[in-house]
Symmetry: C2
Subunit: 120 residues, 2 copies
DNA sequence: AAAGTTATCATGCGGTGCAAGGTATCGTCA
DNA sequence: TGACGATACCTTGCACCGCATGATAACTTT
């Protein structure tokens, strides 16, 4: 049974763009992204989320990947954002601003007052 | 093909609680909720979203419903929030605040300019 | 009657987050 | 050499929910 928390659903459509935003500041490998998303409260994810997501981003041409095998280090697959990925990240910034503003407006404009049926 | 916009995914897990928030100010019927959510930019929905959602909320005991058949008016099914629904709505307020703050933090703290890391 | 508007409802699809499970490499200890 | 834990990668399948689509019904208008 999958946990049906509110947060789980809220994360929909957000983690992917967030990964792109992270990658826009420099290449990273998978577990690194998991840790960074975890560090930002509320964006906690699991590896089972990040790796399929990275595959999708890769298939979509939003990121590239290359193996880096240094001595004394485990082989790591680094993901680097592409121009298309940057564009997508920028688009998301606008989408998120618009969307979050709408939700916040609805939440703040309506105070949970008494039940008064209005017929405007 | 279903439209796969970013907004579509962003709405996940938001519309339900938003409906609860709306209902916390007074009972409404289905189409009324559609119009009000549509009025708040970015939360546009269709009837095919709202009615199944109301059923889910009803099954979950978060709302009750009662038919209202006034003369000179079409029969309308009004939905009223329950105490459990109010609690859920309040929980969502907290969840949303936490979540949106996390995302906004990630978006603003990272400017897409730098690429100051290695291997440019 | 016929057509349009308003309202409710059911069905099925599709994307995505996530749990669960698996493989491979490295360092350490004995 | 072998065992073990930590790190890092990856796959599979499920469940949820927004949405397109279409049906039904009642009231109003033509």
């Amino acid at each position: 049974m999958v946990q049906n928390t509110t947060s789980t659903q809220l994360r929909r459509g957000v983690i992917g763009p967030c990964i792109l935003v992270l990658l826009s500041t420099g290449p990273r490998f998978g577990l690194q992204l998991v840790r960074e998303l975890d560090a930002v409260g509320g964006l906690l994810t699991s590896q089972g989320t990040v790796y399929p997501l990275l595959n999708r981003l890769h298939d979509g041409g939003l990121v590239t990947s290359h193996w880096e095998v240094d001595k004394g280090e485990r082989p790591r697959r680094y993901y680097r954002i592409t121009d298309a990925g940057r564009a997508e990240a920028e688009t998301f910034r606008g989408d998120w601003e618009h969307f979050s503003h709408s939700v916040s407006t609805l939440l703040t404009h309506l105070t949970p007052a008494t039940t008064e049926s209005e017929t405007n």
